[in-house]
């Protein structure tokens, strides 16, 4: 895998290139605003799921507070823009910084615990965050929600031109570029020494420490990086949708992201993307059928879990091994 990743014209990098080009040209032939809207949601969820994959898939820490960080990022941006009148771009950075600082405090406390204790401990943080957002009406408007968060302002270009974010397509590009950046950064991290240390912690924390690694530092670093991108995705969500309610930080969001990762394939770069895209689209398609939607969705989850071990990526790998073993090299 490492050898093929380096070559410029390997089938893998060619496929990635084609996918990127396809993603950039979508607004030219998809004119339906609704379809583009779904694509944008897919991209936001894919971004959040990819960042969750770093701490969960590559570092092996089941962080069930990810939805809270998504929500904190979204709310920080919304409040900074609406209440303090800070422009979008500084607000984006500030919101990410606020979330990372909170993540640092939470991570320092929670990462002392392991396994199920960490999972449930972080889930508690998630619930606490949602309750605080819901109840602190003076700051967050509580259950009424934050209304009217503006879209990003235009970026001025030389020669008097500017990039505006009024159309759906422009927002799509902003979010797509953010998603690609997230994937690139996390891909680079995973394939660096830092990523190796994360995976060593995932494999066996005691062993990694006995080799002289600082497992706590590795876990905290991975936690903070994933928090940063979760917050970024949250900010994009806030400014794209324009409305926030406490549910956006709810633990159900965390579960949804977890589902994306697991259905797609945890610990693979492509898995969370596939999971986010396919499940978001399935849940939209299920609107049309007669069976109650969530019941059908529940069955889909269970069936994929039982029959596709290792998620869709695991299933795809099995097919690849059986039918196309010699391809790709």
């Amino acid at each position: 895998m490492m050898e093929t990743a380096g070559k410029l014209f390997s089938p893998k990098s060619l496929m990635v290139l084609i996918l990127i080009i396809a993603a950039f040209t979508i607004p030219f032939f998809v004119t339906s605003r609704f379809l583009l809207h779904i694509m944008i949601l897919c991209c936001i969820w894919a971004m959040a799921a990819t960042s969750m994959n770093l701490i969960m898939g590559y570092t092996g820490q089941v962080n069930l507070a990810h939805g809270a960080f998504f929500g904190i990022g979204a709310y920080s941006a919304g409040l900074l823009i609406l209440k303090l009148g800070i422009p979008f771009w500084p607000a984006l950075l500030l919101a990410c910084a606020i979330t990372v600082v909170l993540g640092f405090l939470i991570g320092l406390l929670a990462l002392r615990t392991k396994g199920s204790y960490f999972a449930i401990g972080t889930m508690c943080f998630n619930v606490i965050v949602t309750v605080i957002i819901d109840s602190w009406e003076g700051l967050t408007e509580g259950a009424r929600g934050l209304l009217g968060i503006p879209r990003p302002p235009p970026i001025p270009l030389p020669f008097g031109k500017e990039i505006t974010f009024t159309s759906v397509a422009a927002n799509y590009y902003l979010i797509l570029v953010s998603l690609l950046l997230t994937i690139l950064v996390i891909y680079r991290i995973v394939h660096s020494m830092m990523g190796r240390s994360f995976m060593a912690v995932r494999g066996n924390e005691e062993l990694a420490e006995s080799l002289g690694m600082n497992a706590m530092k590795a876990k905290l670093l991975s936690f903070l990086i994933s928090t940063f991108f979760a917050a970024w995705a949250g900010v994009l969500y806030a400014t794209y949708i324009g409305f926030l309610s406490p549910e956006i930080s709810d633990y159900h969001v965390t579960f949804e992201l977890l589902t994306f990762c697991l259905i797609g394939g945890l610990g693979t770069m492509v898995g969370p993307l596939i999971g986010a895209f396919i499940l978001t689209i399935i849940s939209e398609l299920l609107h049309g059928i007669a069976v109650p939607r969530m019941v059908a969705y529940g069955f889909v989850l269970i069936i994929i879990m039982i029959f596709l071990r290792g998620g869709l990526m695991g299933g795809a790998r099995l097919l690849w091994l059986r039918f196309g073993g010699k391809g790709g090299r």
């Binding site: 002392r112 309750v131 109650p292």
Partner: protein, 285 residues
């Protein structure tokens, strides 16, 4: 003073229900390593079963409770066989997602069958006692007494019967248990039946006080997970004591500070405990 005692009594009542749900969950999660998030949804199904038996078939409270325990135990066995057994050798996260799938099926199913409105249990045991300025209803006394009885029964079952011994052996070492000829699949079935039956008991006990609705399992399952982590994974005394701590914290903070931040206080207790003891109160080091 009477407010304090009143709140403590309420806390003990709530704690009883939490203990029962957490006991079932600690059997499933602590012993079988199935993070059964659908335990709360099954609790809700248990409440509806008891409600239907008591209203449409006119059974009395006790019969409705026992029948709903048996029925939910069978549903638990079915769920284990169809959903969790194929995932036995996978990472617990796979079971977690499957459990989330089950929540969708049960909760949305109940929403479609019974509608979103709150159902009221036919009034039973409505006698009220006034002692030293404290008001206590008969149903609350029943909740505490039945909970204690069920805990004693469970303890006797695990400590005194062969079947209980196989459960304990499996909890300590699954492969070891298999090596000495224990049928682990049967143990899983029994444990799941017990766990869900306890959930049904808790649901039947509380539903005459709280109302029955499709979303009733959500907050309870969160607290049950917190309780078993608070007490230490797989620890039965941990689940019981954790349940009562949770109930008391919830009712005292609700009575003296504010009910809006109810969950914050309850979960902050866990965070504090984990900061001091990362494996819970009774967990192994």
């Amino acid at each position: 003073m009477s407010l304090f005692i009143q709140q403590v009594l309420n806390g003990v009542m709530l704690g009883s229900v939490y203990s029962l749900v957490a006991l079932g969950l600690t059997l499933e999660y602590g012993i079988l390593h199935i993070p059964n998030f659908a335990h709360g949804a099954l609790y809700m199904v248990g409440a509806y079963l008891a409600f239907l038996l008591a209203t449409y078939l006119g059974f009395n409270f006790w019969l409705a409770m026992i029948l709903s325990m048996i029925a939910l135990g069978l549903i638990g066995v079915l769920v284990e066989r169809l959903v969790f057994r194929p995932l036995m050798l996978e990472s617990p996260l796979s079971s977690f997602i499957a459990a989330i799938g089950l929540i969708f099926i049960f909760v949305d199913g109940a929403l479609n069958i019974f509608g979103p409105d709150f159902k009221r249990f036919p009034p039973t045991h409505i006698q009220v006692f006034h002692v030293l300025g404290i008001t206590i209803t008969f149903q609350r006394i029943i909740i505490v007494v039945v909970t204690i009885a069920l805990i004693v029964l469970l303890h006797l079952f695990i400590k005194k019967t062969t079947m209980g011994a196989t459960i304990e052996a499996t909890a300590q070492d699954r492969e070891g248990a298999q090596l000495v000829g224990i049928n682990v699949k049967r143990v899983r079935m029994i444990v799941f039946a017990l766990g869900t039956a306890l959930a049904a008991a808790a649901a039947a006990l509380i539903s005459p006080i709280h109302l029955v609705h499709p979303g009733m399992g959500g907050p309870v399952i969160l607290k049950a997970f917190v309780i078993i982590i608070l007490g230490g994974m797989g620890s039965i005394p941990g689940a019981i004591i954790g349940g009562f701590i949770m109930g008391l914290v919830e009712s005292l903070s609700g009575g003296y500070i504010s009910t809006a931040y109810n969950e914050v206080f309850a979960f902050a207790v866990l965070v504090t405990v984990l900061a001091v003891r990362p494996t819970g109160l009774f967990g192994a080091k």
